[in-house]
């Protein structure tokens, strides 16, 4: 019964698509473009076509405002929505810590003991779906890119799809 090669099944589905995730997907937060962004970045997940455009309004070291636009799967877009909610009003330092904690959660599958991370913890189930980790991580990678001064973030170094 406990064949490690056998995965899948519908119980896992509810773990992946928690209600709060679907809620962020259907009603994305921080979705209106900023009037005067101080930096921005574009992120792409070439394997599945997820894209995110991120605009950040920095005041000194604080993320005063942030907005995203994009197209992609529920996981990528919900993660972006949650990320913007989390970092808005926090310092760049705190945002970077958030990105680190998120990566940690994707690698270990364990929720992170971080204040304000409650919604984001719902993405913990994604760690069980290796193919989806990139979708969830895209927003954070793009954020890091924007904070570095902009440009293009990609989850891939090169093309590796086989159809």
């Amino acid at each position: 019964m406990n064949d490690p090669l056998k995965t899948g099944g519908s119980g896992l589905l509810d773990e992946l698509y928690r209600e709060i995730i679907l809620d962020h997907y259907r009603r994305p937060r921080n979705h209106d473009p900023l009037k005067t962004p101080t930096c921005s970045a574009d992120g792409a997940n070439p394997l599945c076509g997820d894209t995110i455009h991120l605009e950040v309004g920095l005041d000194d070291h604080t993320i005063e405002d942030i907005a995203f636009a994009g197209a992609g799967c529920s996981i990528s877009q919900a993660s972006a929505s949650m990320m913007t909610e989390y970092v808005k009003g926090r310092t760049v330092e705190e945002a970077r810590k958030g990105a680190e904690a998120f990566q940690q959660m994707m690698t270990t599958g364990e929720t992170q003991d971080l204040e304000g991370f409650d919604d984001i913890d719902a993405l913990q189930g994604v760690s069980k779906f290796p193919a989806r980790v990139k979708c969830a991580s895209l927003a954070w990678k793009t954020l890091e890119q924007a904070l570095e001064g902009g440009g293009v973030a990609s989850t891939e170094e090169g093309e590796t799809s086989h159809d």
Partner: protein, 420 residues
């Protein structure tokens, strides 16, 4: 020394007996029986192929072409017999016209290097199409950047077919090569080679056919097609991974440069220079995938025993059913040609409001395996203005009941993501 011909005589086309040859179809994903609809990516392999590959490694394994000992002679015979089987399968004039490669991609790159680099000059035109797989785009872009050849595309029309009127203007006196897929892996479109090949031949151009999707699913006869190169992969036609073939006219192969240098592809080597072995050895440097060739040979035996006309008929029937059944699912848009006769068993679709990635994920929990993404055909996605699609692709072992499972699961996907 022969490979035992597998026991396949499922005449008439007996789907129940066929399915018994593919034990993986009984696998459960979670608590549901697998519905495997990702055949355009790779097919499954029947027990006959697996058994003969095992038997090769168990009873006959040795390196080929280099030994006088019994096993080496047996292994060489088996390898060359596989070549003859593949040659017969595509109706090549002689077995030497089959070059064993790793896959379609390597076959096309072999032509770009061995033929393109030798015979194409700056300004020469290579014509491909907008519906090509990346493996029939990128090698030509690389050659363009290196050699200054000109790359032209036959455009796709909104229904996924090629614009043949445009093709008539694009293919011209400067065209040296038409490199074209026979069937799109992204949309299933069957390309009318009977129209396009004469356009190229009229101008003395060579024709390369990407047969990755057509050779597994349609009867193929290289002499009737009147083309020059045909590239295909074993793993999409019941054979092992890491195995493919290039068929080309003997005279062309003879005139071409080798692809890779090394053992087995030389006649003589001195410290100063080497001379090349004859075709096909010239193109098969190093120890080849002998076990893979054996499996490939059995795979085409299996297909031949069923008959490619019967395989095609089964898929047309199934695709016709699927087009209607999936078309009835609310929110589903199907891309590509409208009728089953104009396409292979490939259905690319979109479910309104749900990203293909999410569609694929939920289908997986129903045991239904489809592919989602750009299918290595980003120009097609760009033309359709979608980032990606979900794609169900059929093979000889798929059934209408499996199409129903897909449709029912899709209805559930819509419910799952639709609720506010």
């Amino acid at each position: 020394m022969t490979i035992t011909t597998p026991e396949v005589d499922h005449q008439p086309f007996d789907i129940e007996r066929i399915r018994r040859d593919f034990p993986i179809l009984k696998r459960e994903i979670g608590d549901r029986q697998l519905v495997y609809l990702d055949n355009a990516a790779t097919s499954q392999r029947p027990v006959q192929v697996l058994a003969e590959m095992t038997r090769f490694y168990r009873d006959h394994n040795a390196n080929i072409h280099r030994g006088v000992h019994t096993l080496s002679v047996e292994a060489t015979d088996l390898y060359e017999e596989a070549r003859r089987k593949i040659a017969r399968f595509v109706n090549a004039r002689r077995a030497e016209e089959i070059i064993f490669t790793r896959n379609t991609t390597e076959s096309i790159n072999l032509v770009a290097h061995g033929w393109g680099r030798k015979f194409l000059e700056a300004g020469d035109e290579v014509v491909i199409s907008e519906i090509e797989h990346h493996s029939n785009i990128v090698p030509w872009q690389m050659l363009r950047d290196e050699r200054g050849i000109v790359l032209k595309y036959i455009p796709m029309q909104p229904d996924g077919t090629l614009d043949l009127e445009a093709a008539r203007n694009i293919i011209g006196p400067k065209t040296k090569l038409l490199a074209i897929t026979a069937m799109s892996n992204a949309l299933g479109t069957i390309v009318p080679l009977d129209v396009l090949v004469p356009m190229a031949k009229e101008h003395g151009a060579k024709v390369l056919v990407d047969g990755a999707q057509s050779v597994p699913h349609l009867p193929v006869d290289v002499q009737a097609l009147d083309v020059d190169f045909l590239a295909f992969s074993a793993h999409k036609m019941l054979g092992p991974t890491g195995m493919g073939a290039l068929w080309a006219r003997y005279e062309i192969l003879d005139a071409m440069n080798p692809f890779m240098g090394g053992g087995d592809m030389i006649l003589t080597v001195t410290m100063e220079r080497s001379t090349w072995a004859d075709v096909p050895a010239k193109f098969e440097a190093g120890t080849p995938n002998v076990g893979g060739a054996v499996g490939f040979g059995v795979a085409v035996d299996y297909l031949s025993a069923l008959g490619m006309d019967a395989v095609r008929a089964h898929e047309v029937e199934l695709t016709d059913y699927a087009l209607r059944r999936l078309g009835d699912v609310p929110g589903v848009t199907i891309f590509g040609p409208p009728s089953a006769e104009e396409r292979g068993g490939v259905i690319s679709f979109e479910l309104e409001g749900v990203h293909p990635h999410d569609v694929g994920q939920v289908l997986d929990t129903h045991g239904v395996a489809v592919r989602t993404g750009h299918h290595c055909a980003q120009p097609v996605m760009a033309a359709l203005t979608v980032p990606a699609t979900a794609r169900a692709s059929f093979y000889l072992y798929n059934t209408p009941e499996e199409v129903d499972r897909l449709a029912v699961a899709l209805e559930e996907v819509a419910r799952f993501f639709g609720g506010a």
